[in-house]
């Protein structure tokens, strides 16, 4: 008798859970736009500390983008960016994933979207930003002073001991 009651209770509860899980499934709503926040420093994995700065893990963002990609009811993705950038690999992972998306991705830059964060934004279809938002700060810049003619004037020569032709590309002495 006891076992019968237990089995029946468990069967009823499982059936109810299973049925309600189908009812509450997020598939029930169609034409959704998923908003994915990218806040703080972008890293591959989060550092666990109570006093930590705000961080975004690329692993989590990739999961959310995957979810958006697979769910037919999600029609587009809005990346809400408020980040000064982060590590190169984490930013590239997200930027690559955004490029691969088969749904429209819009980046909305709030206070700041620079460096790796701007890299991600530039991979999306549209970037929206406030005229006062801080954007950009992306790419590579290098400069040096060139002394070769000065050295030549005073009879100073520059001897190269390098293993490759581009190793001393930025040298000011040649």
């Amino acid at each position: 008798m006891k076992i019968k009651i237990i089995v029946w209770t468990l069967v009823i509860l499982f059936t109810l859970s299973y049925s309600l899980s189908k009812v509450w499934d997020i598939k029930e709503t169609t034409n959704q736009i998923v908003i994915i926040p990218i806040t703080g420093t972008i890293t591959t994995e989060l550092t666990s500390s109570l006093m930590q700065q705000k961080e975004t893990s690329s692993t989590a963002i990739l999961n959310y983008l995957d979810l958006a990609q697979r769910n037919p009811n999600i029609k587009g993705v809005l990346l809400e960016i408020n980040s000064p950038g982060g590590t190169v690999v984490a930013s590239k992972e997200i930027a690559d994933k955004v490029k691969q998306m088969n749904k429209p991705v819009v980046s909305y830059i709030r206070e700041i979207g620079t460096s790796g964060a701007y890299w991600i934004a530039s991979s999306s279809n549209v970037i929206v930003a406030d005229p006062l938002s801080i954007t950009g700060s992306i790419g590579v810049i290098g400069s040096y002073l060139e002394f070769s003619q000065l050295l030549e004037k005073y009879g100073v020569t520059y001897q190269r001991l390098v293993s490759g032709s581009y190793k001393d590309t930025g040298s000011p002495f040649k």
């Binding site: 499934d25 926040p37 989060l46 893990s57 692993t59 769910n71």
Partner: protein
């Protein structure tokens, strides 16, 4: 009959949580995994804050799991005076009245649906060997 020892009650609770996880929570796992794909609380919080439809789904799921769990404890205790965990550790629920009523079972198990409230409810268990909700429902756990 003496009141049940604390370790038996804690172990019985853990067994029941495993049963609840298998019977009630597991059907919801695919839906929950769609919404929560990270262990970082801040990221979950900001994602939910920005996605009200997903947040609503998660709230509905949490409430459903809480209600079904409450029924698991209440129905079994009302019918058998024991849950599966209590059976394993040979403890059972009794009352001052002649027969345990369903409302008594509901009241004594209400706090089990929210873990933090259960901890507060259990403050009195060491001294009086009864949770606050057990005092209110006039029920005891004996072995």
């Amino acid at each position: 009959m003496k009141q049940a020892r604390l370790y038996k009650r804690v172990l019985a609770y853990l067994v029941d949580m495993v049963v609840i996880n298998i019977v009630i929570v597991s059907p919801f796992k695919p839906v929950i995994n769609k919404i929560i794909s990270t262990s970082d609380l801040y990221q979950i919080y900001s994602f939910l804050l920005n996605n009200p439809s997903q947040t609503m789904s998660l709230i509905k799921i949490s409430i459903t799991i809480a209600i079904l769990s409450l029924f698991y404890w209440s129905i079994l205790e009302f019918k058998l005076k024991q849950t599966i965990g209590k059976m394993l550790f040979q403890i059972y629920v009794t009352t001052q009245n002649k027969k345990l009523t369903f409302s008594q079972c509901l009241i004594r198990n209400l706090t089990k649906t929210f873990f933090i409230i259960l901890l507060i409810d259990s403050i009195t268990i060491i001294g009086k060997k009864q949770r606050i909700s057990e005092m209110i429902s006039k029920t005891y756990v004996e072995e």
